[in-house]
Symmetry: C2
Subunit: 376 residues, 2 copies
């Protein structure tokens, strides 16, 4: 386990941004997404901090949700041209993941996709600072980045310790303006991270307890948050839970792979094809995957149900999870996300192309078909 | 939150020591304690690694349990004289804590106690690598070091980010030869760390759940371990629990102080005066402290009891904890540690001298007397 991120958590932590940026130089590449940070004032606060610290700032806005490698490469060119000292990424998972890839691509000569295609290994990185505006992916405290390449129809994850943000600023009030819908997707996302961690090769008792702890936080505080989107305390609890769900504290025990990640692979296919929000792709894929696994690992699924939902059978566990997702407004069937029966073949084809599967629970092409049927 | 330690966990992780040491140079100060690592073969394995990596090694053995500043200063002189590039500490909390202070004192001109007395702040450190042989204090993954100064009758803690080990090697089989008695003290120690974290200023729900998780691990796997001291799986579970209990994962939520630490202050007085093992001092002090607090924070104590022991009242919670400590062979009264009634005044005097108290729960001199009475 290794996690060197300096996490700044709490109200007004943004006031420490200027000092943090100054550690690395005075030329900043500022990366962000759509216009939401303009509307809620976060952009102005970030710019004020950077100006007060005497930074020269180049801006790359417009990183798309379900981030694409083209955005990464364009922002990289801007950063390379101006020899920036540090990258500040303001946004959610898409923005920060893109910025991570930008950070390793600037010192390299090619496209960011070369790292995903295995044609090149990162050797250095421009330091990255994250300002988080969405509690969901955990990217603020991990070395992972997922981007998609629509030309090759792939959405892949990369892990490299160089991609850890040096600092991450987490102010729960920065997530007040996230819609009810996207807040729910964030909750589904953090729960899916716990579940991926849980389905490894056995019984890591402390990791299991941490998984249950974070899931219980999501179940206890997620629904009330959806009715009180500007409640600082509830936003803070979900924000901490999302960070904890994927910062590798569950892998202290020396396991090789931290979790299965097969469901994420399925979800990535759905996002790639239909631009589904990441959390929504997972709330559809996880119940279906669990139904497939119910005959294979019934005890493990039942153990989860017992500790998280107070139920006893695998079937009850899956129903409880599905009901929870439904209650918070996340889809659990393809049709609920507007994906019709006619898309089954297309999904299957892209699953095969992406060699969808997990670290521990491999999936056959027959499994793909069953999963697609189970979420139809 | 910030924790940059690279944790290597599992059987034979020692094989990575040579590579880790080589990152920092080729002159090593090797710090260890009594002769136990000679008997169980760990010393030879470490030396083989260092030799194979072409290191020149200066050795400082004989760090005492309840470490003293004199050992720190002598080892520092050896390291300074030979301008070592890196320190390798092989042992438990005493050895690694001492090595942390050595690491910040070598680049300074004075005594290590200057940092504790507030006369100087650390500005740099010789890189430190830890090889853990005792699951207890969590020092392998935190920036804390406790040493005592018998000349001033003080035992104090220091926190500085420079004191994080760069690498920590945790092989559960390295703890096989720890006696039943010291294994139990280690369990009491890790439980005390959870409890200190729990008694802060309120309700950090995820931190609470993590506390309960680690306590449950200790309760479930501690007693069987005492009957199977060479069981790798049980050693591994307790080792992970001890590391997790004090690596600041419970303080991601932006709290200023991570826990109360008043009971540790009491325990330090007992260790200082009577050379009590750290864990034993805590198994005596915690029940007494809880009895004092039972009228002040009954709900918080009962909440703990409910989640960890399945009981409902503060009194039942304290009894459950006391019974557990007793069952694993830890003392819960001064008399059980051979400290007689005649020592009460001496203890009180040194508590006053050390200004014993916690971050959240301040203690008056009247409280000191009550605590002493409660553990007599």
């Amino acid at each position: 386990m290794y996690n060197p991120v300096r996490l700044h958590f709490g109200r007004d932590v943004i006031k420490g941004l200027g000092k943090a940026v100054s550690e690395f130089g005075n030329k900043v590449l500022l990366v962000y997404g759509g216009g939401s940070i303009m509307k809620n004032g976060i952009y102005d606060q970030v710019i004020n901090q950077l100006n007060a610290a005497g930074m020269t700032v180049w801006k790359y806005g417009g990183i798309r949700p379900n981030p694409v490698i083209e955005d990464v490469d364009t922002a990289t060119a801007l950063g390379r041209l101006n020899q920036v000292d540090v990258i500040v990424a303001v946004g959610g998972g898409s923005v920060i993941d893109s910025a991570k890839v930008i950070s390793i691509t600037i010192p390299y000569h090619g496209t960011g996709w070369d790292f995903y295609a295995g044609r090149h290994k990162p050797v250095s990185a421009v330091p990255l600072i994250a300002v988080l505006t969405l509690a969901a992916t955990g990217t603020e405290m991990n070395p992972f980045a997922v981007v998609q390449n629509r030309a090759t129809m792939q959405k892949l994850g990369l892990r490299n310790d160089l991609m850890y943000p040096r600092h991450s600023f987490l102010d729960p009030s920065y997530t007040f303006s996230v819609s009810r819908e996207y807040t729910a997707y964030g909750i589904a996302d953090l729960m899916a991270h716990c579940l991926e961690a849980y389905f490894d090769d056995g019984d890591a008792s402390l990791s299991d307890r941490f998984v249950f702890s974070i899931l219980q936080e999501a179940i206890d505080y997620g629904p009330p948050l959806l009715d009180h989107l500007s409640d600082y305390d509830l936003r803070a609890r979900i924000m901490v839970a999302a960070t904890a769900a994927l910062n590798r504290i569950m892998t202290m025990n020396g396991r090789k792979n931290a979790g299965d990640w097969g469901v994420h692979a399925i979800g990535h296919v759905l996002s790639l094809l239909y631009d589904l929000p990441h959390g929504a792709s997972l709330s559809i894929a996880f119940p279906a995957w669990l139904k497939l696994q119910a005959e294979r690992i019934p005890d493990r699924i039942a153990f989860l149900g017992k500790h998280v939902f107070g139920v006893t059978t695998p079937a009850e566990t899956i129903t409880s999870l599905e009901s929870f997702f439904t209650a918070i407004g996340c889809p659990v069937r393809l049709s609920q996300a507007g994906i019709g029966e006619d898309k089954k073949e297309e999904i299957l084809r892209v699953m095969i192309l992406n060699q969808v599967g997990g670290n521990y629970h491999k999936l056959s092409v027959g499994d793909y078909s069953r999963i697609i049927a189970l979420c139809s």
